[in-house]
């Protein structure tokens, strides 16, 4: 991780049950989750997870149900207490904070968007959005003004006076998003925010989030069980299994270089041509014979017209217009091979 670290998670464990020490020790000696459960009655939720998230980065944790991803985000946001380890936000140790200190951090630095929205049905949309400010004690005019701005940004203008249950699922989650954004947090936690939505609405919401993130540049920790969603949203992605990370990397790293069979299983379903960029198939070279040039961040799909017309190597340049290497048909064909 380069640059400014916003959130740093250091060796956190979450063990449910009465004898966590024993359970951690057993895992240390190589026992599986099942063996630990048999012996101690404890369930390992999160097993020694560490990661850093840079400021403005979108870090996605992808895992199937039971992988511990929800437990992880609940530990990081301290909705659950960790069994051991530290969570450091902007240099402050969240795990060591008193309830009062935590409350202050929650009021000003973090927000969360929930899977089933967690909206307040007894409050109008505007009052839902303004909730965080209300808790901070911001006066009514100011909080309505700020909430109105955010509601407009998420496309809910005109719905301020409605109640959440009068809105569709996708719009309800827009309220959830607005509520999280109104307090202007440093870091946003998303706990499977779109998995309760229809596929088409889900895609809209993903696009919306990408659009928002372009201007907001917030630090985001995003939990999902959908690999495609992880690829689409994440700057970096962690694949989680049995309470631990199997691999952490960019979409391209996961697809071109899966660390485990488990990770590879997910990449199989992914339309690689749409995800991989020229960077993944870059060969050293100083440009092609025909002088044709493609961009480093073009997807492989985007290369196809050039490849059809040009059998030889094609030059590749980065966003500054500097030539960084070449691609050819073989390299692309190899990258798209189904068995990879």
């Amino acid at each position: 991780m380069t640059g400014d670290v916003c959130l740093s998670v250091e060796h956190i464990w979450k063990v449910f049950g009465t004898r966590p020490d024993r359970a951690i020790e057993m895992v240390g000696r190589g026992a599986t989750r099942e063996e630990v459960h048999q012996a101690t009655g404890c369930t390992i939720g999160v097993r020694d997870v560490s990661f850093d998230v840079g400021r403005g980065e979108t870090f996605v944790v992808m895992g199937l149900s039971g992988s511990g991803k929800s437990t992880l985000i609940r530990c990081v946001s301290r909705l659950n207490e960790v069994t051991s380890g530290r969570v450091v936000l902007d240099g402050e140790d969240l795990t060591a904070m008193s309830d009062d200190q935590l409350r202050q951090v929650r009021r000003h630095k973090m927000s969360m968007v929930f899977q089933h929205f967690g909206l307040f049905p007894h409050r109008r949309v505007i009052d839902n959005a303004a909730y965080g400010l209300e808790i901070q004690g911001v006066d009514k005019d100011e909080r309505y003004e700020r909430a109105n701005k955010v509601l407009e940004v998420v496309g809910l203008r005109g719905w301020e006076q409605s109640y959440p249950q009068q809105l569709s699922g996708g719009m309800q989650q827009r309220v959830g998003l607005a509520r999280a954004l109104t307090v202007d947090p440093e870091i946003l936690f998303f706990d499977e925010p779109f998995s309760a939505l229809d596929p088409l609405i889900r895609r809209d919401m993903q696009d919306e989030l990408i659009r928002l993130q372009e201007t907001l540049q917030r630090t985001i920790v995003f939990i999902t069980h959908d690999f495609a969603e992880a690829i689409k949203l994440g700057d970096r992605i962690a694949i989680m299994k049995d309470g631990a990370f199997d691999q952490v990397g960019t979409a391209t790293q996961l697809i071109t270089d899966p660390a485990t069979d488990y990770v590879q299983e997910f990449t199989k379903e992914i339309p690689k041509a749409k995800v991989l960029t020229t960077a993944a198939v870059l060969k050293p070279g100083r440009g092609g014979p025909n002088g044709r040039i493609v961009r480093l961040d073009d997807t492989l799909e985007g290369l196809l017209p050039a490849l059809l017309e040009d059998e030889s190597e094609i030059g590749v340049e980065d966003s500054d217009g500097k030539t960084v290497g070449v691609v050819d048909r073989q390299a692309v064909a190899k990258a798209l091979e189904p068995d990879r």
Partner: protein, 642 residues
């Protein structure tokens, strides 16, 4: 729920052996019965402790009466407390009587009309006027003020307690058994200790009402707060809310519909008991009914009874319109403002013009025609009432009572009860039942208890015979259900005591009116819960049965009824508890047995007797309740533990 079978293999294996040995247990039971019957010929437990309990209690009561003005516990707590309650009562009553009479109906109309239901608003408003039309306006105001104070106290205690219980499991564990007990014990029972500490008249009536109506306020508040989705609470936490902010901004508002239902139930229960509290000299509508019945002035009794029903209806509708108001359409400020103006205007005009008391010219005398009609009914419907009466008395009551009190030796009864308790629930309940029943016998309440039990059994048999088939029918047939709903709704709103009035008018005084009233009172939940059980059977199970070519009958007896059985037994449990409460109340009007003794104890201040009767009733209530509950639990299919 700890009694639900744990689906571990051990438990299943135990269950197997238990089933296979069942034949032997029956044989053991039979042998025990024969042996005990042979050994002991006495049919009643010797009342060895006749004065062991009542003696000291009477002494204490005497002491309490003599020291009421001196002892610090009275001068320091009970007397000032009573004075405060009494002051509240007097103030509210004075206020209600100071208000021009039409203000109350106006308020009722405005509150219900807010929900846009003008039909219901009109009906409720007319119902509110009714007591005035039959000359019972002031009496009704007395009842209302007693209720208002009792409900206010109950809510002031109940809602915070409910919140506390929802937030602290330890508090919930502590108060749950107390609430259970409060709901199991028939109301007249705790009149007795209340009288001892607060004396006779309106204050003890208020206290008794508070005790009786407290449980729903606590329970539904707890339920409502626990029912708030975890995510909403966490969302609130994540914004850095303090626990207090989360409570007031999220949990309480989101629990409000449930809490309002609790308040509605509290009000309805308070009304039910306020009528009974007549026994404590509370005055009001209940006294009107009781006096009328005692003097055989049926018209007056009926008019007062209907006034109670009218008040119940009004309170229920007002409560519901507040509880179920559509949250997405809050009353506009203008409506609230206009309503307030109207009410204030009505008060000013009423006071200025002197239109305060209900205009006498409007009062209609319905008493005489009703008296005539009832007399006609009694004389001419005897071809129905007499056979019913005879069947219940000669066919059910006398044989059962004679069997229990004249034939069966007392150890046999203890043995059989203990055996059933043991088989259905466990050793704990068996030991409790045996010793508790023995205690009832030793303090000299054996015969009276068996007589009450006889009445309860008779009423339960009749109720179950009606409620279960009707419930099953309603559960299967939407049209039947739709036709029954308004009737059941109406019956459920009527306070228990009122059921006795029409019945007693048609039947002669005695045990039968009490039993019929108990049946009418108890079949409502019986039918409701049975229908619910039948309706809750998953459609998939029914269709699975049908795809195997099962006839409707086979589906009914092979799938529907077994799957609904736990709920049906829960219905029986409810029936039994309601019958018991009603049989005790029926003691007021000649039902005899424990009920009558309760009345005697309360009205004559025989505290010792009151405690003995109370113990007997509570013992009976607890055993019957736990037994049927355990039975329902046993019928529950094993559920996975996680």
């Amino acid at each position: 729920m700890t009694d639900v079978l744990q689906p571990t293999e051990v438990a299943l294996a135990k269950e197997e052996t238990r089933r296979s040995r069942f034949g032997w247990w029956w044989l053991a039971l039979l042998a025990g019965v024969v042996l005990l019957q042979y050994l002991v010929s006495s049919t009643a437990v010797p009342p060895l402790w006749d004065t062991a309990i009542s003696g000291p209690i009477d002494q204490f009561a005497t002491w309490a009466r003599e020291n009421r003005q001196i002892h610090p516990i009275f001068t320091g707590f009970f007397i000032p407390f009573s004075a405060a309650v009494d002051w509240g009562l007097t103030t509210i009553e004075a206020f209600l009587k100071w208000l021009p009479w039409f203000v109350l109906p106006l308020v009722v109309f405005l509150v219900i009309f807010r929900t846009g239901n003008w039909k219901m608003a009109t009906v409720a408003t007319l119902s509110m006027v009714y007591p005035g039309l039959v000359g019972l306006w002031d009496t009704t105001m007395e009842t209302l003020s007693l209720m208002a104070i009792a409900v206010l106290i109950a809510l002031a205690i109940g809602i915070p307690l409910g919140v506390l219980a929802a937030r602290r499991p330890s508090v919930e564990r502590l108060i749950r058994p107390v609430l259970d007990a409060m709901q199991t014990i028939p109301a007249p029972v705790y009149f007795i200790p209340v009288v001892l500490f607060f004396g006779i008249r309106r204050v003890p009536a208020t206290i008794a009402t508070v005790i009786y109506s407290l449980p729903p306020a606590v329970r539904l508040t707890t339920l409502g707060i626990q029912g708030v989705p975890q995510q909403s609470v966490e969302a609130s936490d994540m914004f850095g809310s303090t626990p207090r902010q989360t409570l007031f901004k999220v949990q309480l508002p989101m629990a409000m519909p449930t809490i309002m239902t609790g308040i509605n139930q509290t009000i309805m229960m308070a009304l039910g008991i306020v009528v009974l509290a007549t026994l404590l000299g509370a005055g009001g509508l209940g006294q009107e009914v009781l006096e009328a019945l005692n003097q055989r002035r049926t018209g007056r009794g009926l008019a007062a009874g209907l006034a109670i029903v009218a008040v119940a209806m009004v309170l229920d509708r007002v409560g519901r319109s507040l509880a179920f108001a559509d949250r997405t359409r809050p009353a506009s400020r203008r409506y609230v403002f206009t309503s307030l103006l109207l009410v204030i205007g009505a008060i000013i005009v009423g006071r200025a013009m002197g239109w305060v008391t209900f205009p006498e010219v409007w009062e209609v005398s319905v008493f005489d025609p009703v008296d005539t009609a009832v007399r006609w009914g009694r004389d001419n419907l005897s071809f129905i009432t007499r056979p019913v009466n005879d069947f219940i008395v000669a066919g059910l009551l006398i044989p059962v009572r004679d069997f229990l009190t004249l034939t069966v030796a007392w150890p046999v009864l203890l043995f059989v009860t203990g055996f059933i308790c043991w088989r259905l629930k466990g050793v704990g309940l068996a030991i409790f039942s045996i010793f508790a029943l023995l205690l009832v016998g030793l303090i000299g309440m054996w015969a009276l208890s068996l007589e009450t039990l006889t009445q309860v059994l008779a009423a339960v048999v009749i109720s179950v015979a009606i409620a279960i088939p009707v419930g099953i029918w309603a559960g299967r047939n939407r049209r039947v259900d739709a036709a029954l709903t308004p009737i059941l709704d109406a019956l459920q709103t009527i306070p228990s005591f009122v059921f006795i009035i029409p019945v007693i008018l048609l039947f002669t005084v005695g045990q039968v009116p009490g039993i019929i009233a108990a049946v009418l009172y108890a079949i409502v939940p019986g039918i409701r819960i049975t229908a619910l059980g039948i309706r809750q059977v998953p459609e998939e199970s029914i269709e699975a049965s049908q795809t195997f070519g099962a006839t409707p009958r086979q589906t009914m007896f092979g799938v529907r009824i077994p799957l609904a059985a736990p709920t049906i037994i829960a219905a029986v449990n409810q029936v039994i508890m309601m019958v018991l409460a009603m049989v005790i109340i029926a003691g007021l009007v000649g039902g005899g047995a424990l009920g009558f003794e309760t009345v005697r104890a309360v009205t004559r201040g025989e505290t010792g007797l009151g405690f003995e009767v109370g113990i007997s009733i509570v013992v009976m209530a607890i055993i019957l309740d736990r037994l049927t509950y355990a039975w329902a639990m046993r019928l529950q299919p094993p559920t996975p533990s996680h």
